[in-house]
């Protein structure tokens, strides 16, 4: 089952540490910035 995330739906929130160890939470951008999410393949 794919494409269960669709245009118009609320983006599932998440939090991950960045490369400096700071926690980045998607919902922290609300009211501030538009966010482009780029899910990578993995470095070759």
């Amino acid at each position: 089952m794919r494409n269960t995330i669709f245009d118009g739906q609320e983006a599932p929130d998440f939090a991950l540490p960045d490369l400096h160890g700071d926690r980045i939470r998607l919902s922290d951008f609300r009211g501030e910035k538009i966010v482009v999410l780029a899910f990578l393949r993995g470095f070759m």
Partner: protein, 108 residues
């Protein structure tokens, strides 16, 4: 990624941020970010929990994870999503910037 790197200033000029999420370890991320002079946040997701939540496709015949790109508006809603069908099936910056321009114009 090179595309997003080269166009990054166009995104920041529109008050947009890029978050790059990948399955590699933090160590590999740091090396890759340094080697490629990337300025936007890199978010290692070695447990692939976020990748799973967003249903990033793993295609064993195509040797791995397929690219997935999305634009989230300031209210936290998905306004564009693209599931890549091959490793090179990634939206160009113009497509993403146009979505962002429309969101900014409607001042959602």
């Amino acid at each position: 990624m090179a595309r997003l790197r080269d166009g990054y200033s166009e995104f920041t000029a529109r008050n947009a941020e890029i978050l790059a999420i990948g399955p590699d370890s933090p160590e590999k991320f740091v090396r890759y970010w340094e080697e490629n002079s990337l300025l936007f946040p890199g978010l290692p997701d070695p447990s692939k929990q976020v990748s799973r939540i967003y249903r990033q496709e793993v295609n064993l015949f195509k040797l791995g994870r397929m690219p997935l790109n999305a634009v989230v508006d300031r209210r936290g809603f998905i306004r564009y999503i693209h599931y890549g069908y091959s490793m090179s099936d990634i939206p160009d910056n113009e497509t993403l910037l146009q979505v962002i321009d429309e969101l900014n114009a409607s001042s959602e």
